[in-house]
């Protein structure tokens, strides 16, 4: 393991009942790297990134985030979750709170920031994702694309070192995909460490430092986007790419 690695996974295995979802995944992600994970549905890619902030519990192997190992120790889990932001496929905004409250809730209660400090940074983030005028609305009054950008701002409000994206554009209408991808590209340019599970091949080609292909709970192939899309080595990768491109 290099000193640069901010995420280090070794032989991660995970079962749901008798079904093995992850069959020993090894991955190192360095600081500032953008990793895109692709693969057919049911291949374990979402399960894998959900293990990184322990929304799912892996049964074998080790995961280190910023040098801290994820174990049952609550303190480690809390420390890692403050450092790892996550964006979900279905947004999961809190419907009973305004946009600004959605964003400032965790900084105020988890990071113990003052309300004014949290709101100032919240406004800055809404500016960055391009919807400063929506601060006092409720999530139900926003379009899907706007909601997902709020979800990105909410995750960024904790000032995380790593951002996880779990199919962030899959639940969006086609015309709203671009606005969310633009916000993510902006984030990548600023040097955020990102792991993105997605079916947006254009995004992978343009932004990714590395593309990983998952199938049957295994990391089948990894490489730069150029290598990956033009010269895939593995038969399963070739088959998958031929089906979607």
């Amino acid at each position: 393991m290099s000193d640069q690695a901010i995420i280090d996974c070794r032989g991660v295995k995970k079962w749901f009942g008798d079904f093995q979802a992850l069959r020993g995944v090894d991955l190192e992600v360095t600081k500032g790297e953008v990793v895109v994970i692709i693969g057919p549905s049911g291949s374990g890619k979402s399960t894998f990134i959900r293990c990184i902030n322990r929304l799912e519990v892996h049964q074998e192997g080790q995961i280190f985030v910023d040098g801290i190992e994820l174990t049952n120790d609550v303190r480690n889990i809390e420390a890692i979750r403050k450092d790892v932001g996550m964006v979900f496929q279905s947004f999961n905004l809190f419907p009973h709170l305004t946009i600004m409250q959605n964003i400032t809730l965790a900084p105020i209660w988890v990071k113990k920031q003052s309300k004014s400090e949290a709101e100032a940074y919240g406004r800055e983030l809404l500016e960055r994702v391009g919807i400063p005028e929506q601060a006092d609305k409720y999530p139900g009054q926003l379009s899907g694309g706007q909601q997902q950008r709020v979800a990105i701002a909410r995750a960024l409000a904790m000032r995380p070192q790593i951002m996880l994206f779990d199919e962030p554009t899959s639940a969006l209408d086609p015309e709203m995909v671009k606005e969310v991808l633009d916000a993510m590209k902006e984030l990548a340019r600023e040097g955020m460490t990102m792991i993105v599970v997605t079916h947006e091949m254009g995004f992978a080609r343009e932004v990714a430092d590395r593309v990983l292909f998952f199938d049957y709970g295994q990391l089948v192939e990894a490489g730069t986007p150029e290598h990956f899309f033009t010269n895939p080595q593995h038969d399963r990768t070739k088959l998958f790419l031929s089906q979607i491109l």
């Binding site: 929304l55 979750r81 403050k82 996550m86 979900f88 809190f94 419907p95 209660w109 409720y138």
Partner: protein, 620 residues
């Protein structure tokens, strides 16, 4: 053939109004088929004859409605001493002032359209007309007059509707103005309107006298209407100057009930010597000591020792209460049993329950502490909660200054309200805790909560009232004699909490998994997740069920007559009809009680619909 696609004709039509009018409405809703026409006629006849019978019963000259009006005081407060009625009026006054301020603070005022008002006017007019037309033969005197009045009112409403046809559905009339007009009319009616009251004496003679609507209470009610208007005006004046007005009012509403129940209505005979020598030291020592501990525990670094410490503290305090009860306080066969005066036992209970409260605050301290200001605020909340706990222990144990004739407390509708509000307010936190316990991942807590809920729900409320009234004092073995109203409140609270828990659990289950995951992903603790994310959404989702339960509980208070309390229905059915002047008036009084219950339950359900609309706006 026109398949070259070049010929496109566009016809622009002006939008047409759909067919409307009474004939159209009848055709669409009542007579759209042969079967529906037959059903309409049959049901119509049933309704007409049913109404005829009902109106005839109400207007029968042999009805003793005077038994209701003559006993209004008994139905409202029962044997509460007349020279202390200022206490009752002060209690109502507190509620009225808070209601006026709240109406202003929450900006309930809105606009209604002319259409809504004309509909109401026409409804009233038609109802009067219908009564005049349907009333059976015995009702002869004012039939023609009533019919004319009804017709005039209905026509006036219709005329208003026709003359405002353009703006009929525009909200133009302020509800504040409308409410003011209605309140002035009510106030004037109290002083002017006289109704003929017919009394039938035992020898068969009848006497008709004209009497005011509210003979002895017209002045206080008029003053209260004025107070309502005044407090609304004050609320409007200060609501922009005081941004936290709503929060202050929530606190005042919370405080108002115990203050009315314990201080205003009950006139506690407080021994200030005991307060200074017992309660004040407990408050100062525990307040300072536990306050300091909370300040330390609330510091923003993580540390598992805090949770271990607080959990041990809680376990110790609970064990201390339970074993202390068993070994020292009540069990005379225990070798450690000490006979102590009731005051000492109360003092110990006060101390032990304060320790439990402190432990609960300590458990939540890491979640709600943080920066210095937040921790100081948290200690402030602790001091307030400790004060409330000690004050309620002391106030519930001291005797009342009032000499109550034969009953434990105020009776009648006031007792019904006292029981209902206390049981609802107290069962709410308990029910929420039980729901969270049953949804908890910790098996012991889940099992205890489930067992409690299933046990309580499997036994009728009457049984719990018996248990509460008889067994509670046996458990306490004469150490602390809880007065009967509080025993009923305890039984109803414990019963209602089980049902409330199941309602809230339904709400918790309706919350999508993604909400929990989103809260987890930003690192929230279990307490924060529950209080900030899941509970508010769950409670909002189950408002209709909760209101249903409030209404059920309000009506279930009528069961307390079984343990010897004089609630509204008991007085109506068993007390008043026993008076020699009102023999045989049981139906009239029962109907009057039913109308009183209906007024309040209907208000509850209407306000809950408003609340739902307000909360539902712009959330999902």
């Amino acid at each position: 053939m026109a398949d070259d696609g070049a010929f496109v004709e566009t016809i622009e039509l002006a939008p047409e109004l759909p067919p409307s009018g009474p004939v159209q409405w009848i055709r669409e809703n009542l007579t759209y088929s042969v079967a529906s026409t037959i059903i309409t006629v049959v049901v119509g006849l049933v309704v007409v004859f049913g109404l005829r019978g009902l109106i005839g019963w109400f207007l029968d000259p042999f009805r003793k409605w005077s038994s209701v009006t003559a006993n209004a005081r008994l139905l409202m407060v029962q044997a509460y001493p007349a020279e202390q009625f200022s206490r009752v009026w002060i209690s109502v006054g507190i509620v009225v002032v808070l209601a006026g301020l709240s109406a202003a603070a929450w900006r309930v005022a809105g606009k209604v359209s002319v259409g809504q008002i004309t509909k109401a006017i026409m409804g009233i007019g038609s109802a009067l007309l219908l009564i005049a037309l349907l009333a059976p033969g015995e009702f002869s005197g004012g039939r023609g007059l009533l019919a004319v009045i009804g017709l005039v009112i209905a026509l006036a409403g219709y005329g208003l509707k026709r003359s405002n046809r353009e703006t009929i559905n525009d909200p133009t009339i302020s509800t504040v103005g409308l409410a003011a007009v209605i309140l002035v009319l009510i106030a004037a009616a109290l002083w002017i309107v006289k109704l003929p009251v017919q009394e039938v004496f035992a020898d068969g003679t009848k006497e008709v006298t004209n009497q005011l609507l509210a003979r002895s209470t017209k002045l206080p009610w008029t003053i209260l209407i004025g107070v309502l208007a005044l407090s609304y005006a004050i609320g409007v004046a200060i609501r922009d100057a005081i941004p936290s007005l709503r929060r202050i009012l929530v606190v005042l509403w919370t405080l108002s009930f115990p203050v009315i129940l314990m201080v205003v209505m009950r006139a506690p005979d407080i021994d200030w010597g005991t307060v200074l020598s017992v309660d004040l030291p407990i408050f100062l020592v525990l307040g300072a000591l536990i306050g300091y501990i909370l300040y330390v525990i609330g510091a923003p670094d993580t540390g598992e020792w805090k949770y271990i410490f607080s959990a041990l503290w809680l376990a110790f305090s609970v064990a201390w209460v339970l074993f202390g009860w068993y070994l020292f306080d009540t069990n005379s066969s225990s070798p450690f049993h000490i006979t102590a005066p009731a005051a000492d036992v109360l003092q110990r209970l006060e101390f032990k329950f304060s320790m439990i409260l402190g432990a609960i605050f300590a458990l939540a301290a890491p979640s709600f502490g943080g920066a210095k200001a937040a921790r100081i605020r948290y200690v402030g909340i602790w001091l307030a909660a400790l004060f409330a706990l000690i004050a309620s222990f002391r106030l519930s144990a001291v005797p009342s200054e009032l000499v109550l004739g034969g009953s434990a407390f105020v009776g009648g509708l006031s007792l019904t309200f006292t029981l209902a509000i206390a049981a609802i307010v107290l069962s709410f936190p308990l029910g929420v805790l039980l729901a969270l316990g049953r949804a908890s991942s910790m098996p012991i807590i889940r099992m205890i909560s489930t067992a409690y809920i299933e046990l309580v729900r499997s036994v009728p409320l009457i049984t719990w009232l018996y248990i509460g009234s008889n067994l509670l004092n046996l458990f306490l073995a004469g150490v602390v004699d809880i007065f009967s109203v509080v025993r009923a409140i305890i039984a109803m609270t414990l019963f209602s909490a089980a049902y409330l828990a199941e309602n809230v659990r339904g709400g918790l289950q309706s919350i999508p998994k993604g909400q929990y995951e989103a809260a987890d992903a930003v690192g929230m603790s279990v307490v924060q997740k529950t209080v900030l994310i899941t509970l508010p959404q769950a409670l909002k989702a189950v408002i209709p069920a909760l209101v249903g339960q409030v209404i059920a509980l309000f009506k279930d208070t009528s069961l307390v007559s079984i343990i010897g309390l004089f609630d509204l229905l008991y007085i109506a059915r068993n007390v008043v009809p026993g008076q020699s002047a009102n023999l045989g008036s049981i139906m009239e009084l029962t109907v009057a009680a039913a109308v009183i219950y209906w007024i309040f339950t209907f208000t509850f359900s209407r306000s809950s619909m408003r609340l739902e609309r307000r909360l539902g706006l712009g959330t999902r």
